[in-house]
């Protein structure tokens, strides 16, 4: 592939990366503390949970779908996992069941969309309420707190000086990249988003793949729940509120189109880091969380406007 063709294909990702570097530079000038190793690791750790959810969201959005239920699914997976751990269920089966709850909730979303023919927005909006209600009902609205050190290691451990959540995030993104670019699942993810009708005519089992993709998205929300619970040493039924919005924002800032058919997971990772750096930097600068919301909202709008302008100029 020529360099020109490569840039044409991946230019958007370089654009997002450039945006992240500029943002980091600005933060460094405004507050020198930003560019210390401990602070950068802190940013990465805080970004990890949203980034892991956003990796699954990227698959869903490439199929021209959406998953609004991930925040609630995170809460439900978290409280199920926590209750199992407190009942003395060993770590590995408890983790498997906790993440499995997320996966099956996602599969349920997928079935509502493929068999039930509901628009993804409606199916997952309903699930958002159902999973939140289930988490509250299951716990009676109370958090479940206090876990063993071996479980907490999943968030507090630092092998080779790198926090576990950051390692998990990197592992997930490499796996997602692999799935999306090297496997049939990935190819059909793009195909479904590009032209679902044509993909069905080609004989691809679109129902199966779509259901699987929503399952992956739910499963990653379950994994995020594990890390969040270990980090807070507590599972809250109200955890993960608005996480779906952050995950969608990270995906969109990273260049994935809500119209489907295009996008890359590493763009999403950079998108999640942009949101993380903004939050961290603005906090270091003592800007109120109210004003932070305005700034992050504006960044999402400007990123997508820029993206649209760039695409137009290329045509």
């Amino acid at each position: 592939m020529t360099l020109k063709a490569y840039v044409a294909l991946h230019g958007r990702q370089f654009g997002t990366l450039f945006g992240l570097i500029v943002l980091c530079a600005v933060m460094w000038i405004l507050t020198p503390h930003f560019l210390t190793v401990s602070n950068l690791l802190n940013v990465a750790e805080q970004t990890a949970i949203i980034a892991i959810i956003a990796a699954g969201m990227t698959f869903v959005i490439i199929t021209a779908g959406i998953d609004l239920s991930v925040g609630s699914v995170l809460a439900f997976s978290g409280v199920v996992l926590a209750s199992l751990l407190q009942k003395g269920v060993p770590l590995v089966p408890a983790l498997a069941i906790g993440i499995g709850v997320g996966f099956f909730t996602g599969v349920l979303n997928g079935l509502l969309i493929t068999i039930g023919r509901l628009p993804p927005f409606i199916a997952t909006l309903g699930m958002m309420s159902v999973a939140r209600g289930a988490a509250l009902l299951y716990t009676g609205g109370r958090p479940i707190s206090g876990f063993s050190d071996s479980f907490r290691y999943l968030a507090t451990g630092k092998p080779l000086g790198i926090p576990m959540p950051v390692l998990a995030m990197l592992a997930i993104f490499f796996m997602a990249y692999f799935l999306l670019t090297k496997t049939k699942l990935g190819r059909y993810t793009y195909a479904i988003g590009g032209n679902e009708e044509a993909t069905i005519l080609s004989g691809v089992n679109v129902r199966l793949y779509k259901t699987l993709i929503y399952g992956i998205c739910g499963g990653l929300a379950g994994l995020a729940a594990t890390i969040l619970t270990a980090r807070l040493n507590s599972a809250q039924p109200i955890a993960g509120m608005n996480y779906e919005l952050d995950a969608i924002a990270a995906t969109v800032i990273g260049g994935t189109s809500l119209m489907g058919g295009e996008g890359h997971v590493f763009g999403t990772l950079i998108g999640a880091l942009i949101i993380g750096v903004l939050r961290n930097g603005l906090t270091l600068l003592n800007i109120s969380s109210f004003a932070q919301q305005i700034i992050i909202g504006l960044v999402i709008i400007v990123a997508v406007l820029l993206d649209m302008a760039l695409k137009k100029s290329r045509r």
Partner: protein, 205 residues
């Protein structure tokens, strides 16, 4: 030399509510033959094509393909028999490259449990089929850069790579310019030992 027909339709009937679309239709297509179906709107051309392509089922009648009686319940089953249907609304994916379009659902893989897509092979194989349909572009080209006529050739390449023995084209020239139409007919016209067969009906012009 007596030749057995590749496709034999006998007594095909199909009713829709309030209208008989096809009434006792017979049709033979010989190997190597190009057949054009011509008729007014509502004459039942599309219905007949869709029955051959497995998109809809006949109410009565039999279909023999390559000497055997067949029933095709879906486009997929038609494809397994060697019947490929190129729809008027081209069903290509313009967010993928040409090779991905040609081999969608039939991606060459490395084998093994992971079934990873063999990206080298997919391009090499796709280039071969592009050559066969006279399309002088790289199979790495994004489909979005191609003209309508080129996209149609990609569909033909796709059908050939699927092992098509009978190719059905629904109004293939309807969205083409005159020169593009001529090019398409040149490519479709069988030459030498080529053993694909085409059945198409031009748009009323």
């Amino acid at each position: 030399m007596t030749q057995t027909a590749l496709l034999e339709l006998k007594g095909i009937c199909r009713r829709f509510p309030g209208v008989i679309a096809l009434d006792d239709v017979d049709l033979d297509v010989n190997p190597g033959e190009i057949v054009a179906l011509i008729g007014e709107n509502g004459a039942g051309k599309s219905t007949l094509m869709k029955i051959i392509g497995g998109v809809i089922q006949p109410d009565a009648g039999t279909m023999r393909f390559a000497g055997r009686e067949v029933i095709v319940r879906s486009p997929r089953e038609a494809g397994l028999q060697g019947i490929e249907f190129i729809h008027q609304e081209l069903s290509v994916l313009d967010n993928l490259d040409v090779a991905a379009n040609i081999f969608l659902m039939r991606e060459p893989t490395y084998g093994g449990p992971l079934k990873l897509i063999d990206r080298q092979k997919i391009y090499v194989e796709a280039d071969k089929y592009l050559l066969k349909v006279g399309l002088e572009i790289s199979s790495r080209t994004p489909l979005s850069l191609l003209s309508i006529a080129q996209r149609q050739l990609v569909e033909i390449a796709r059908a050939l790579s699927a092992g098509a023995r009978l190719l059905i084209m629904d109004e293939p020239t309807s969205s083409l310019t005159l020169s593009e139409s001529k090019l398409l007919l040149q490519i479709v016209r069988p030459k030498g030992r080529r053993r694909q067969h085409y059945l198409h009906y031009p748009s009323p012009r």
